[in-house]
Structures are given as structure tokens and as C-alpha cells.
Symmetry: C2
Subunit: 286 residues, 2 copies
Amino acid sequence: MMFDEQGSADVVAASFGGTPDARLREIITALVRHAHAVVKEVGLTPEEWAAGIRFLTETGLACDATRQEFILLSDVLGVSMLVETLANRAVGGLTESTVEGPFHLVTSPERALGDTIDEVGAGEPCLVTGRVVDAAGAPVAGASIDVWQADADGFYDVQRPAEVPSGNLRGRFTADGDGRFWFRSIVPRYYPIPTDGPVGRLLAATARHPYRAAHIHVEVTAPGVRRLTTHLFVEGSPYLDSDAVFGVKESLIRPFAPVDDPALAARHGLPNPFRHADFAITVRRS
Amino acid sequence: MMFDEQGSADVVAASFGGTPDARLREIITALVRHAHAVVKEVGLTPEEWAAGIRFLTETGLACDATRQEFILLSDVLGVSMLVETLANRAVGGLTESTVEGPFHLVTSPERALGDTIDEVGAGEPCLVTGRVVDAAGAPVAGASIDVWQADADGFYDVQRPAEVPSGNLRGRFTADGDGRFWFRSIVPRYYPIPTDGPVGRLLAATARHPYRAAHIHVEVTAPGVRRLTTHLFVEGSPYLDSDAVFGVKESLIRPFAPVDDPALAARHGLPNPFRHADFAITVRRS
Ligand SMILES: [Cu+2]
Ligand SMILES: [Fe+3]
Ligand SMILES: [Fe+3]
């Protein structure tokens, strides 16, 4: 079979027909067909193709040990979120998942229930409480809850290594026998994804903002339970309806409600008033 | 609009709705729709997505001043050939175009009509003749014909810089007043595209060979004429029906016919017998 415009995708797909791994064959065939469809649909010119090659090359060269520009590209194209959503279709009242994001770089320090994850002390104090249960409503005693978040200026510890101790605003908690967990923190701020690389230039060229709505990352693991990677979003945050990586799901937004209760504040070691968010989490037994 | 599985492409496409440049908006919207279609069609898993990110990253990191692995990827997926074909739809008997390929790195030395481009003298001697005309059949007097080719072992000069002079098997000729050109060379061999990078691993994983059918690159330019980038393929070469970059078009294959004619050989300064290919070229006045 020789190449021509009409049959281009067929010819190339056929060349992959001998791929031993059936799954790889399926994926590459779909890739070829849709790639050729894009080129034909828009009538891609050689100059535009060359610009695309340059963009991919710069994206690759922007990657190093601490930066993954291709994941960022996948994020802003909604591909990461789509893959995550397909992998974790929430059924029967399970808590929905969302993207892990690029800031789960360091292992969160182990902390005791009720501890604060804020080692700096700047920001609006808050109490986060929650309970991990399974689909039948039974508590997942001893579940591990890993949380990490940006500070009140929108930065993660790894972005300010000179000013902030590593592990700040991160913590791993072990739920009690009733599946409950609670800890102190500050209210996170919305923040921009990195904009100083090719993906940032893409956002600028397309008049898109780089901001993520304010959130606390939450990862729940426990023996016999499917891992849940999700966010607790701050109700009222800017960008909830235009998150740069499409990570927001309605079901994951919670009020960080103001609380004026000196006795409760004192019991938790918090200044009064403070804010309080509760995150009930339902996971799937596997 | 918030993200969900059904509407994922719509939500992401809408985020690009404010792109000031209408053409960029069109291209990125098509990219988003087809990318989401691929992910859904195959049900891409997070592990497969991560493998894809790794592949793209390695492809980017393989690029440097003398190597363009993303172009190679585009080549083996038939995308380069499709873009080239769309840009140069041959109508009304024009000579078809094909990919330029990665070996047009050095400027070909100027040579006189009838000269040899073979500075080494290993291989089967051949005579290449041709004539450049326009769609009306009128000669393109003084057209510039740039040719470059692999040697009898399948290597370009730039691949063996220690053994072969730069410019070997390359030449720029100026057609005579009747649009005619002729030069001496050796019959090129088929050759593999570079296989020591990510694209080579992709070919291996998909049981595809890396070979290109034997060819001489030909680029024709002249004032008032649209540039033509094409190949002269050697009839009977292996891989004509499975060229690794899909560059072969039936209309570009020519016999390299054996000639036993001592007088003709002597006239051209060739040993007898030799081989002869004739390439009639029709270009478009612009
Ligand atoms: Cu498609
Ligand atoms: Fe985050
Ligand atoms: Fe070549």
C-alpha cells in the first residue's frame, strides 16, 4: 500500500498491524487515526507543523528532575483530568477523584491527629475534620490521610526552599478507630501553575489564565481499599469555575465556615475565631 | 462549566474560546477534541498515560543541534508526509513532492553539468539525466537542481565525517537553456533511519523495520517557480512498498537501467557498463 492523501491513516495504521502487543497496537492505531484527522481537518501547513515541532521540542527540553512540562501540557489540555476521571469513575456515592498535581514531591511528615501542618504561622487559621468510610458506611479505621497544600500566598514549600521548612503544610495522619481525622492548618490560597515555560507561553497566546482554585490535596490509602487521590476545594475561591487544569468537581467543594467559639478554639489549640471545613470521604473496598 | 467525562472536550475547548488568533484557536480546538477522543476511545489508563509522558519527554531530550527526534516521530507516523502532501497537491501532471528528510544539513557544492557527485568512487556508477519543464511543457531554463543521496552502504556523508569528505554525494546543478540537467553518481542504497533513540524503540516495539527505499533527494528552485522537494526512487529497491516514513509515491519511481554502450560511457566519463535513470520534472509557475 502506498501513501496518498485519502488513505493516509489506513496506510500508516496498517504499518503498525504487526505490533505484537495487542493493547499497544490498539493505542497507536487510534493515535495515528486521530492525528491524521487533525491535520486534515485544519489543513495544517508546513509552517504550522514546524511550529508544532518547535513547541514539542521546547517542552521536552524544559523537563528536568524537578519539572515535568509535558504533564503540565497534559494538565492544561484537560487530558490528565480525563484519564483520572476514566480511571476512577465514582459510582454509588464514592468520593470523586481529581489530579495529583506536580507538588507531591516530598514525603509528608507523619503527624498526630490534631497537630498543625502549618510550621510558619502566617494565614487564616482553620480546622479540618473528616471521616473515612466505605460504600456501606462502615468506618475505615486507621486509614492513612496524606494532605498537602499551598500557603496563604499561593506557594508550596518546595517553591520557597530558602524561606520555608521542607514539609511545611504537609502531613500524614492516621485515622482513629472510627475512621475520623482532624488537623489544624491555614486556609490555602489559589495559585498559578508555572508560567515561565512553553506551557505558560501557550496559555498567554490563548488568553487563558494560569490559576488553580484554592484546595488542599488529600490522598487516602488503607489496606484493602482503593487509593483515592482528590482535593478539598475552598468554597468561594476564585477560579472554581475556570481551574487551569480542570481539576474542580462540584462534589469536592466545602465551606471553610467561620467559627466563633472560644471554648472549641481552646480545645483545638486554635485562636478564636477560626474557620472549619469538614470532608466526609467515601472509598471503595477492593 | 465544570469538567465531567461526557463534556470534557467541550469544557476544555471552551477554555480556549478567547484565543485572539482565530487560526490558533481553530488548531488547538481540533487538537483538544481529537486528543480527548483518543483517550476515551481506548480508555487510556493512568499507567499508559504515564508511559506516554515518559516517551514524549525522552523524545524531547533526544533532540539537539544535529538531531530532531520529534520530526523523526512525525515521519514514522506519516504526519510529515501528510502535511507535505496537503501542501503540494499535485494537479495537472505536476511532479509529486515528498518529505525533505533530516539529511539536507549541509549546502550542496556547486557542480557543473556532467560532473560526478561521487568523490569516493565506491559503488555502481550511474548517469542521471532529466529536464525541468512547467505545466505547459515549456523548459525552465537555468533551474537550480539540488541533489543529495546515500552511498552504496546506505550512509550520508554527515554520518561518516571521519571517512568521507563533506559534500560527497551532494551537488547543485544549473539546468541548461532547455531545462536539461545531467550528472554522474553511484546507485544509492536503501538505509535505516536512526534507531538508537525513542523512535527506534517505538519501531522495535511495533515490529516495524526502519528502512527507507533507495532514493536520490531532488530539490528544484527557479525564479517564478514554486519550490519542489521530492525524491527519485530506484525501481526494484527493497522497501518501496513499506518505506519507514511513507515517502514513496508510485510516480517518483524510475528504472536505473543497465546500459552497455562503450561510446556513450566514454562520452560521459563513465566506466562501461553503467546504469541510467531519467527524471522528467514538471513544476508549477507561481
Ligand atoms: Cu479524532
Ligand atoms: Fe495543588
Ligand atoms: Fe534520504
